[in-house]
């Protein structure tokens, strides 16, 4: 165990820090053209006509395409998660809108030209005539019978309705000491990685083969989808994922521009490059989060929660072929999170509106469930006049009850939630904080502390989809002893390649520097589902481990024969294979590798299969898709979690909230590399904080996006994000060979509940109650004013 558990730097870092990373936009091909996309300026309209005459004539233009062309040339894009498979509605999504637009930014036409300037100029010459349709941008309004309809054939805007139910909820409510109701609202925001989306498609006419370089998270599923859309054989398509500049879910396929660039390359016989502009990204690159969360909770006077009713309304914007709407489904699947509330029901409506479609964003609905459950616990605590942490401790699933099945079928794998919370309270000085708070309050400062807890189910595995619970890897040793690992998982810049290299180096007993990890090339790598849901290390790493062990076994067999001993008597470390306890009897790993490759007929290697290569697949053992006696299935295999404490200061004159401290105890099972895990967690907290306070996709009543650039969609900078104090609690997963659980996503969910709780605590003198996000200064200031005037119903800004 030389590398597992140690803080090894990222194996790509030295290259990236010198500016040598090659991202999709950095790839160029001779003769390539540039694609520009014409997008709808209306939130809801019928397309009456499109005049492309002037654009066609513009110098340098190679092709102009509209929905009518696309319909002739291609098929609809298969949905990554088809709502109809969940009993929901669906619609066909083509690369361009066919006759109707559903949000500002809907792609309606495309141009390819010799230069970027020519493409943009020609795009501006395309005349689209629209007939306005009434717009609906509010999900609750969209559910009303007289609402405008996005997809009239549905006769409703409800994409899907889901119910989970367990226990005897009515009885629990009848027996309760207190019943509390509240309505929360999470606002719309997005992942927005620093690298925009990008694609370079090259259809080679002679070879009749398509190559797509693309900033994606899932090259293999994308290839399968492209084959379907473009009516090509999968064998004739190669998808290559260059370095990716951040993804966070929002680069899970399939967006319209990817097959669109491929189609236009095929039609022109030349490469086509497309690089998304930030404005396009913020309009049409995948939104998230916007949900209304209503709850009614029944509790005893001692803080025990006996019943919970939840109603979630997910505002998923217009429908696209990406999997974003699934986040609202997962939000309902996770309730009641880490708590033991057997009498529980969740009622979910996923609703379409005339806003940008959702795509995945780190959290994937778990942040909504966390926020909801943290607010539930805080409300209960305040009502029964108990400490907010104490109420959580009272209601956690006890550590000896795992695996624990929630009402949705979510099967919590392992953990010690109470200990995590107690530990983080100790580290943060929870018990002594009130004194400090009093002291500062006397100086006119408003400081608050909050607790929160996030449960982050990982490695989602949805029946009949490419959101699956398995992964593949190949480990190959060359004659010179160099190790190549080819994985089906990919890295969007999250570092799993380093963790996987550590696992393989340890399994083979070789130096880390001899291990090369190859990812994101459908021509080279075993079929795999890519990167999302923190699955890469615990699934891809497990497959890599299995493959490395198999190769290691062969190496030891040959070495044992050479050293005239048994394989069990050998140790392999740093490329030296030694007889245990006898330092002078050894052979080099490299020499064994060379022997196996060059001398398959000599006696040390004669009795085994030649070659030093293995491909293995790993499947999670605790997923079940056959319904249990209550009709439940389990779609998540791994349940990491984090207990958190936040300290904030609120400037009551301006409403500015400053996060002063964020402390966590985090369990992701066995930690392969603390540097990487902590880096991920810190980055996730920054995104949670950004989402809670600084970032908002805001629409006016006509469905116009008002925050379409980084001027007004404000990401947090180094000034706003404090360094998180991260502590590990390692409860190994019983379901992976190394005890790893999902890592990488965690940290994004807890800031919502934890910081909101801290802000309420800081504003206790005014009795402010927070129901809605974001906590922008203006809104916080209004909450303070409203509370001062005796109304703590929350601000509607």
């Amino acid at each position: 165990m030389a590398y597992i558990g140690s803080a090894v730097s990222g194996i790509l870092d030295a290259k990236l820090v010198a500016g040598k990373g090659q991202y999709t936009a950095d790839v160029s091909l001779p003769g390539m053209g540039y694609m520009a996309v014409v997008r709808s300026p209306y939130a809801h309209a019928r397309i009456l006509s499109i005049d492309t005459g002037a654009a066609q004539q513009h110098p340098g233009v190679r092709i102009v395409a509209t929905g009518a062309d696309i319909k002739q040339w291609s098929r609809p894009i298969p949905h990554t998660l088809n709502p109809s498979a969940f009993g929901g509605k669906t619609t066909d999504i083509y690369c361009l809108a066919i006759d109707r637009v559903h949000y500002v930014g809907t792609p309606v036409a495309a141009v390819v030209a010799d230069t970027r300037h020519a493409a943009t100029e020609a795009a501006n010459l395309i005349e689209v005539e629209y007939a306005d349709l009434p717009v609906v941008i509010d999900a609750e309004r969209a559910l009303e019978p007289d609402s405008p309809l996005l997809y009239p054939e549905w006769e409703t805007n409800e994409l899907m309705h889901v119910r989970f139910q367990g226990g005897d909820v009515e009885r629990a409510f009848a027996d309760a000491d207190h019943i509390l109701d509240d309505t929360l609202h999470l606002h719309r925001h997005t992942a927005t990685p620093l690298e925009p989306r990008a694609a370079l498609a090259h259809y080679d006419d002679r070879a009749e083969r398509l190559t797509l370089w693309v900033s994606t998270q899932a090259p293999h599923p994308l290839r399968t989808t492209l084959a379907n859309t473009l009516e090509m054989d999968e064998n004739d398509i190669q998808v290559i994922q260059p370095q990716v500049g951040g993804a966070f879910g929002v680069k899970i396929p399939t967006y319209q521009e990817d097959p669109l660039a491929c189609l236009l390359s095929k039609r022109t016989g030349k490469p086509v490059k497309w690089v998304e502009e930030r404005t396009e990204h913020l309009m049409a690159g995948g939104h998230a989060r916007e949900q209304t969360l209503k709850f009614s909770v029944a509790c005893k006077a001692d803080g025990t929660v006996v019943g919970l009713k939840v109603r979630i309304i997910g505002d998923v914007g217009a429908l696209a072929a990406v999997a974003g709407w699934g986040m609202s489904y997962v939000a309902s699947f996770v309730v009641p999170g880490p708590y033991k509330i057997p009498n529980c029901e969740v009622d979910l409506s996923i609703v379409v509106t005339n806003k940008g479609p959702w795509n995945a964003y780190r959290g994937f609905g778990k942040e909504a469930a966390s926020f909801l459950m943290d607010r539930v616990m805080d409300r209960v605590a305040d009502t029964v006049q108990m400490d907010r942490a104490a109420v959580r401790l009272k209601n956690f699933v006890p550590k000896d009850e795992f695996p624990y099945v929630q009402i949705s079928g979510a099967t919590l794998d392992s953990g010690d939630y109470a200990k995590a919370l107690q530990d983080v309270m100790d580290k943060a000085g929870y018990q002594s904080f009130a004194e400090e708070q009093q002291r500062l309050h006397a100086q006119g400062r408003y400081i608050g502390m909050g607790v929160g807890f996030e449960l982050t189910p990982e490695g989602g595995c949805i029946p009949d989809s490419f959101i699956g619970g398995y992964e593949g890897a190949t480990v190959r040793v060359s004659p010179s002893g160099q190790v190549t690992v080819l994985t089906g998982v990919t890295s969007p810049g999250s570092g799993n390649e380093t963790g996987i290299a550590q696992i393989v180096a340890d399994a083979l007993g070789v130096p880390l520097s001899t291990v090369r990890v190859v990812q994101g090339d459908t021509q080279a790598c075993p079929y795999g589902l890519g990167n999302w849901s923190s699955r890469s290390l615990f699934m891809g790493g497990s497959a890599s481990l299995y493959a490395a062990r198999e190769v290691h076994h062969k190496v030891l067999r040959v070495a044992a024969s050479m050293l005239k001993t048994a394989p069990e008597d050998l140790d392999c470390e740093q490329g030296r294979i030694r007889v245990k306890g006898q330092a002078d009897r050894e052979v080099a790993f490299n020499d064994v590798a060379e022997y196996v490759h060059k001398r398959p007929f000599d006696h040390h290697a004669f009795d085994m299969e030649p070659g030093l290569e293995s491909t293995r697949y790993f499947r999670m053992g605790n997923i079940h898709h056959v319904p249990d006696d209550k009709g439940r299935i389990n779609t998540y295999p791994s349940y990491p979690y984090a207990a958190c404490v936040a300290v904030v200061e609120v400037d009551i004159e301006t409403g500015v909230v400053t996060l002063l401290r964020y402390v966590t105890v985090h369990d992701c099972g066995t930690v392969i590399n603390p540097l990487l895990v902590e880096g991920q967690f810190q980055g996730a907290v920054a995104q949670g904080l950004g989402g809670l306070i600084y970032e908002q996709l805001s629409y006016d009543d006509n469905g116009q996006l008002q925050t379409g650039t980084f001027m007004d969609y404000t990401l947090p900078t180094a000034v706003e994000v404090p360094s998180v104090e991260i502590h590990h609690q390692e409860v190994p997963s019983p379901f992976t060979p190394l005890g790893t659980k999902g890592a990488g996503e965690s940290g994004v969910s807890s800031p919502f509940g934890t910081i909101v709780s801290a802000v309420e605590n800081a504003l206790m003198p005014f009795g402010v109650k927070i129901h809605d996000t974001p906590l922008t200064p203006q809104r916080v200031w209004r909450m303070i004013q409203a509370a001062k005037n005796g109304n703590n119903g929350g601000a509607k800004a």
């Binding site: 730097s9 990222g10 790509l12 870092d13 030295a14 290259k15 990236l16 820090v17 010198a18 500016g19 040598k20 990373g21 090659q22 991202y23 936009a25 950095d26 160029s28 230069t115 970027r116 300037h117 992942a191 927005t192 990685p193 620093l194 690298e195 925009p196 370095q243 990716v244 500049g245 951040g246 966070f248 690089v275 502009e277 930030r278 969007p492 810049g493 999250s494 570092g495 540097l675 990487l676 880096g679 991920q680 810190q682 980055g683 996730a684 907290v685 920054a686 995104q687 650039t709 980084f710 001027m711 990401l715 900078t717 180094a718 000034v719 994000v721 360094s723 998180v724």
Partner: protein, 160 residues
Amino acid sequence: MHTTIQLTVNNAPCEATVDTRTLLVDFLRDQLDLTGTHLGCATGNCGACTVVLDGLTVKACTVLAADVAGSAVTTIEGWTQDARQSGDLHPIQDAFVKHHALQCGFCTPGMVLSVQQLLKEKPNPTEAEIRHGIAGNLCRCTGYASIVKAVQEIARMSSE
């Protein structure tokens, strides 16, 4: 409209014909193949396009290529080349690697150049000065903690 400009890029003289609308960032990337300078927003907010122009960092999406005639531009490629003292990387870059002050690496070249500017102006910055010094460079991955740590270490090393 096109114009011909002469300038110095990464210490070498350079002459090029550019469309007058071309941004410096696009000129560097598309015409000179210096792809270590990245484009994240084109509105001057993210800092991924940071380069050194006549000795000062600038966001290359806020400058027209035609306007830099006669100037000296240094990109991450040239700076890395110049900065090599021993080993392969500049101490700032070494500290970034050691502390894993990058994940996807998209913001990193710009971030490194802003850090060198900061340390030139303030060799011994406080944590608050570090945070303000890099506030013009957004990083969506790291949450900045590891970057701050890396800069603190460089400052400590150079003051020893």
